[in-house]
């Protein structure tokens, strides 16, 4: 009964490929997010979705696109992968405005070779 689940946990791919990371939450939360953790462990928000509407779109390359088929899912699609995209990507969710905190998935380690 995982609260926020991401697949796959590990992803190794070649430069130039297109890949997707899936995220699902069963908490009934209103908002979902994608965070990127770089090699120095720094976490930065990429996107958030609230009721299927994009609320935050930080200055990430437009090769990254979030897709939300419904309130419980927020997938991350990445086109034309580059070496610099290698990182750990975390999905998270929160109820309302997240005052009580965010629940994170276990992360997807993406390695671009």
């Amino acid at each position: 009964d995982t609260a926020v689940s991401q697949t796959p946990k590990y992803l190794v791919t070649q430069m130039g490929n297109d890949k997707s990371i899936k995220c699902e939450q069963n908490l009934g939360h209103d908002t979902m997010y994608w965070y990127k953790q770089d090699s120095k462990k720094f976490l930065k928000i990429m996107f958030s979705y609230n009721n299927k509407e994009l609320i935050i779109n930080e200055t990430v390359p437009n090769r990254f696109s979030p897709k939300s088929p419904d309130k419980a899912h927020l997938n991350l699609h990445i086109n034309s992968l580059e070496l610099g995209d290698s990182a750990v990507y975390f999905c998270a969710s929160s109820q309302d405005r997240g005052e009580r905190g965010y629940t994170f998935g276990s992360g997807t380690r993406l390695t671009v070779v």
Partner: protein
């Protein structure tokens, strides 16, 4: 934009002792939320404790407590009776309470906590 600073890249403590992790933040807002997250080697991000800025009382969760100094914009985490399972990266995070929609967390760069047996 808000910033969160954790000035201790790494801390080490003997098992059963007490350790304090520092966090300062910069904001012009008066209402916000602060969090400490733990990331063990498993990579999972785990919420340790949260604090609402409008509450003067410091939050506590079992062996974890905070020292929230709003005027100084300081939010330190104290871990009492340290256990081997406390070894992890600890991230301080800020979340605005204002704005027109859902806001994300702004994280510090983390403190790597080592527990010496």
């Amino acid at each position: 934009a808000q910033t969160v600073t954790q000035s201790q890249p790494e801390m080490s403590v003997q098992e059963a002792e007490t350790v304090t992790l520092s966090c300062t933040y910069d904001t012009s807002e008066s209402d916000y939320y602060l969090f400490w997250y733990k990331q063990p080697p498993s990579r999972q991000m785990i919420l340790v404790i949260r604090q609402e800025a409008y509450k003067q009382q410091n939050a506590t969760e079992n062996r974890f407590s905070v020292n929230f100094q709003k005027a100084a914009k300081s939010f330190s985490l104290k871990i009492s009776d340290s256990q081997l399972g406390d070894a992890a990266m600890y991230f301080c995070a800020y979340r605005s309470a204002t704005g027109g929609g859902a806001d994300g967390l702004t994280f510090g760069k983390g403190t790597h906590l080592i527990i010496q047996p």
